[in-house]
Every structure is written in C-alpha cells, then in structure tokens.
C-alpha cells in the first residue's frame, strides 16, 4: 500500500488533472451562458496538435502555446457562430466539431509530418518544469506540488480568478444573468450575444492551453485521437462541479487521481482492461451522487429536440 500511494502518484495526479481542469473550466463558462459545449474533446485535440505544429515551426515553447490558442480560437469562433448566430443545435454542432477535429488532425499529421498514427521528435523541447522557491524544500509537499509545467500552476490560478470573476465582479454577474434568463438580461440592456461569444472564445483559449499541456507537458508527442475521451470527462467535471470553478476543480481532482491511479495499478496483477475502466466507472458513480443544477436542465430542455 505504501508503494501504491507514494509521492509520484500525487505528483502525476496534478499533471493528469491539468488538461481536464482547463477544459472543464471552459465548459463551465459555456454552461453558465446556457451553451452545453460538447465540442471540448475536439477543441483539446486541435490544441494538442497545433501546439506540436507551432513547436515544430518556431522551436519556441511559448510561441507554440500561443499558436495552439490561436488555432483553437478559430474553431471555437466557428462553434459560437453556428450556435449563437445560426441558431443551430449546440449539441449537434459540438458533435460535428469533434468529427472535424479528428479528421483534420489525422489529415494534417499526414500532410505536415508525413507520418501515420503518431508524431514524435526527440529534439523537440516541451514545457519547462518550474520549481517553486521555498515550497520545493518542504518534504513530501514539495515533491508533489513543485516541479510541474507552468500550465499546471496557471490552471490553479485560473480557478481562483474565475471564482472571483463570476461571483465578485459586475461583469461576472452579467455573465451569470445572461445564462440564467437571457430575456430578462436583454431587457436590462445586457448584450447577451456578446457575452455568449466571449464565453465560448474564452473556452477556446482554455482548451488550447489544455491541448498544449497534453502534447507538450509530459512527453512531446502527438497521437491520433490522443484526447481519448478527456474532453467528455471534462464535461462531466463541469456538470459535477455545477459549473462552479471550485467545484469543477474538485471534480477534476477526483478524475485526475483516478487517471493516475489506473496507470499506477497496471503494475499490479490486475488485467489492464479493468484498471483502464476505473476513471469511467468512477465518473458514472460520481454522476449518480451529484445531480446537475436546474439551469443546466433548463439549457438541456431548450436543446432537447434534435431537429
């Protein structure tokens, strides 16, 4: 048991959680303005791929992250335009965006790098590891918290920022109002459409960061469909956290821990299949205990018809 729950398990939990957490925060923003964003998976995938491409072209990690953000922004703009302007069903657009991301990334993988399945470059430098002064000298805690990529710390900071923004600032309240009751918000002169665009674009930025952490954070590589359902798990984290940044962080922590645990358990005598199942099973169990709030149900009701 001691070997199972050691320092590196918790350290890898923090690493695993970051893409999920970033995407889930984006999903929470979208959910708050009444758009149920199913396209997270596709957005992260585009982010992961364009981060690698940016790194390949510029050779600079920060420019690569920026490039990933820009690429994902374009696609989230597409989603926003279709859902808000053309009044298309958000869920259907989200699903088709996932298809588009998968098709585009596999095609571009062939077109740009001329490889199939996975791209791996030994000479490519990933995100740096930052040590936090003072904290890194504390035994155990230092090993867990310190020495991660900047994006890991950024995601933690973002949770606090978003929490403050949503519940302590005027513009955050406007965003909440736009989602809670668009018609009432409009009658007060709040520009609901602008706010919705803003939320979806911000979600795009977050998903770009999530993708960059996924492809440049651990090993610098890209594999086809490397998101492997993380976008959907982020969606669940959004729902479990009731679109509350702190709640979302808690839910993501649970999944990140399960993810890390399932990788760790593979070293034991359990069949790989069952350890890999763990995050999904725990997600379903967690869904059972945390019901989503009424406004999400409202948003769902509005989208209940698939035509």
């Amino acid at each position: 048991m001691d070997q199972l729950f050691d320092v590196s398990l918790f350290a890898s939990t923090l690493r695993m959680i970051t893409p999920i957490l970033l995407a889930a925060l984006g999903g929470a923003l979208c959910a708050r303005v009444g758009l149920f964003n199913v396209g997270l998976e596709g957005l992260i995938l585009i982010g992961a791929f364009s981060a690698i491409v940016g790194n390949h072209l510029t050779g600079n990690v920060w420019l690569a992250v920026l490039f990933a953000i820009v690429c994902v922004l374009v696609f989230s703009l597409l989603l926003a335009y279709m859902a808000i302007h053309l009044k298309a069903n958000v869920i259907v657009v989200g699903i088709s965006l996932n298809f588009l991301a998968l098709g585009l990334t596999t095609f571009s993988l062939r077109a740009i790098f001329n490889v199939k399945g996975a791209y791996y470059d030994k000479s490519m430098i990933g995100l740096p590891k930052w040590d936090i002064p003072l904290i890194k000298d504390i035994p155990w805690v230092g090993d867990v918290v310190s020495g991660h990529s900047p994006l890991v710390y950024l995601s933690i900071v973002l949770v606090a920022c978003l929490q403050y923004y949503l519940f302590k600032t005027v513009s955050g309240f406007r965003l909440l109002a736009a989602g809670q009751n668009p018609i009432a918000a409009r009658s007060l002169g709040i520009k609901v459409t602008h706010i919705q665009y803003g939320a979806v674009l911000m979600c795009g930025v977050l998903c770009g960061l999530a993708g960059a952490q996924l492809s440049l954070g651990q090993v610098t590589m890209f594999t086809e469909g490397m998101t492997a359902g993380r976008g959907f798990i982020a969606l669940v984290a959004t729902m479990l956290g009731q679109s509350n940044p702190l709640g979302v962080a808690g839910a993501s922590l649970l999944f990140g821990f399960m993810d890390a645990l399932s990788t760790r358990l593979q070293g034991y005598a359990l069949p790989v299949h069952f350890t890999m199942m763990l995050p999904y099973v725990v997600t379903i169990i967690a869904m059972f205990f945390f019901k989503d709030k009424s406004y999400l149900a409202e948003a769902r009701k509005a989208n209940e018809s698939s035509r």
């Binding site: 088709s96 298809f99 585009l104 299949h273 199942m277 769902r300 698939s306």
Partner: protein, 350 residues
C-alpha cells in the same frame, strides 16, 4: 406538386452540404499537392468503379446503416444516444459467444446469436436510458462513458477467459464461429452478406413505424415538443426505456452482422477502429433522423470511406481526405445555412 416541392426542399440542404464538403476536400487535396480531378476520379472508382467495389461499399455501409437507424430513432425522440459503439461491441461479443458455445442446429444458433446481439446492445443502451429516466443522469454523457467500459470489458473477455489459443497467433480474439452459422454472402466471391438485407428491411420498417404507428407518433411528439407530449399523456421515462432499447438493439445487430458475416469471430478492436459507430451517428445527422434518408446517407459515407481507400492506393493523397469531407458535410448540415440565406433572421437582442 406541393409534395414534390417538399421533397426538393428536403434534398436541397444535403446536396448543398455535399457540394461544400467536396469543395473542402478539394482544398485539402490541393494543399497536399494532389490533382483534384484525378483524386475524385479515383475516389469514385474506389467506391463504385466495378461491381466488386460497389458491393464492398455496400458491405461497409451495412453496420453504418443499422447503427444510424438506431440513433435516428433515439434522436427523433430527442434522446442523444452517443453510445452506439459500446452497444455494437457488446452485441458483437454476445453474437460470437452464442454462435460458438450454444449447442443445437445451425439455424437455431444463428437466430439465437442475432437475438442475443439485439438483447445485449438493447440492455446496455436501456441501462443508460434508465439512469436518465430514474436518476436524471445526463444521457449523452453516460452513453459516452459506457462506450469505454463496454469496449474494455469486451477486450478483457477475449484477452483472458475466451481467448483463441488454438492458433499460433496470440491475438485477442475468440475462436472461429462454425461455418454453418455464417451469414450467407449475397454474391459469390463478394464481401456483401445477408446483414445488408437486415439493414434495408430495418430502414423500411422504421420509416413505416415512425409514420403509421401510435408509438412512432409519440416518439416524434417527444422529440418535437416534450411538454406537449407529456401533456398528451406520454410517459417520458417509459418511452425513453423503449426507444433506447430498440436503438441499442439496432447497434447490437450491426455488431452481430460484422461478426457472423465478415470476420466470423470477435476480434478486439476490429469494430472500433473503422469508426462504424461514429459514421452511423454522422449518417443520422446528415439525414436529419429520417430513416430512409439515414440509409442513403450511410451508403454515401461508406462510399467516401471506400473511395478514400482507393485514393490511398492509387495516388499520393492520404485517405484522411475523406474524413475531412465527412466532417465538413456534417458541420454544414448541423447549421441550417439554407434557412439563414432565405429568411434573414432578425438579430436577437444585441
């Protein structure tokens, strides 16, 4: 006359989408430096170039069709069933296990295997429906998560307890199904098997059911206006269980068709890697959940895929070009562009 107009109007959107999709494909081809006309000619040949290729396309369309029909039923009722992959995998596994281990005459085994696949897929799907109806757990998410669980479970079953240890190949697969239980081929030496007939019959039956049966009407009402439906006395929970069961049953049958008609065994990953389930969902979206339209859309998507393989064989353009065309198709369909062209919508609010 009005009917003809309606049909034309319904067809305009998909046709437009196909043109746009092919346009996007042309751009992608140009970017990688291939010749657009040559590539599309190869694509056509790879899909319909000869009788052999044509039947090949149809046999690829078979599971896509069946899955698409199931998803269409659920979508019509307003239930986002995204779990076709898991339902198909479990259906395929049950069909294989039944066909291999059940004693009895061959016809009995075949019927039992098909039934088992429908029941397995249906129950897996209805389980998600039950979670939604009983505990308000979002169906879209649970079905997605259940996909991973089903695939991993099936993978476990064929890697450990039921693994084929007879041959030298250490692959995660069951033993071969006995030849007497195979679904017959429709043409000598071609890959098209009797499962295609199930898909056709299913499409016609589903179209008829949606149009003329009370239950079909209730499903359409539920999807069109849930409040009106519940006011009219439709029980949402019960309807969800039924429609999800049938929806999953179709997906399970698709899996059985692949096992008994093409591979003759359950091989881990053989059903998930071609992405049949997602193609099925795409076909449904493309046809706006219309059963007959879904069948046609399934053939179109299968043709894009087999055509893409032809392109891969004979030109330097990667076959992924077909997945771009497919995705753009769906994206274009999902937004009602034609509407926004004809009816200038008033800008809301802002």
């Amino acid at each position: 006359m009005d009917k003809l107009k309606g049909i034309l109007k319904a067809l305009l959107q998909p046709l437009l989408a196909i043109v746009v999709g092919l346009g996007a494909g042309a751009i992608a081809i140009a970017i990688v430096g291939g010749s657009v006309t040559e590539t599309y000619a190869e694509m056509w040949k790879g899909a319909f170039g000869s009788f052999y290729f044509f039947t090949n396309t149809l046999s690829r369309a078979t599971p896509i069709m069946l899955i698409g029909l199931g998803v269409a039923l659920a979508f019509r009722a307003g239930f986002f069933n995204m779990g076709s992959e898991g339902q198909m995998v479990l259906g395929a596994l049950s069909a294989a296990v039944t066909a291999i281990y059940l004693p009895g005459p061959a016809w009995f085994k075949l019927v039992a295997a098909l039934l088992a696949s429908v029941i397995a897929g249906g129950l897996w799907s209805a389980f998600a429906g039950w979670l939604d109806a009983r505990f308000r757990m979002n169906l879209l998410i649970t079905t997605l998560l259940l996909n991973y669980i089903a695939s991993l479970f099936a993978g476990y079953v064929v890697s450990y307890p039921l693994m084929d240890r007879s041959g030298s190949a250490a692959m995660a697969q069951t033993v071969m199904v006995d030849k007497s239980v195979w679904l017959p081929k429709l043409f000598q030496g071609m890959s098209l098997h009797a499962g295609f007939l199930f898909a056709l019959l299913g499409a016609i039956a589903l179209a008829w059911f949606m149009r003329y049966m009370v239950k079909g009407y209730e499903i359409r009402m539920m999807g069109g206006n849930p409040l009106f439906a519940s006011y009219g006395g439709v029980n949402r929970g019960r309807l969800m269980l039924y429609s999800m069961f049938v929806s999953g049953g179709f997906a399970g049958l698709a899996g059985a068709g692949e096992v008994l008609g093409t591979q003759y065994r359950y091989l881990d990953g053989a059903l998930t890697s071609p992405g049949y389930a997602w193609s099925g969902i795409m076909a449904t979206l493309l046809a706006g959940s219309n059963p007959l339209g879904t069948a046609l859309a399934a053939i179109l998507l299968a043709a894009l895929q087999t055509g893409g393989m032809g392109v891969e064989r004979n030109t330097d353009v990667p076959l992924e070009v077909s997945s771009i065309i497919q995705a753009v198709l769906i994206l274009f369909i999902s937004a009602k562009f034609t509407y926004s062209f004809f009816k200038k919508k008033k800008k809301a609010g802002a």
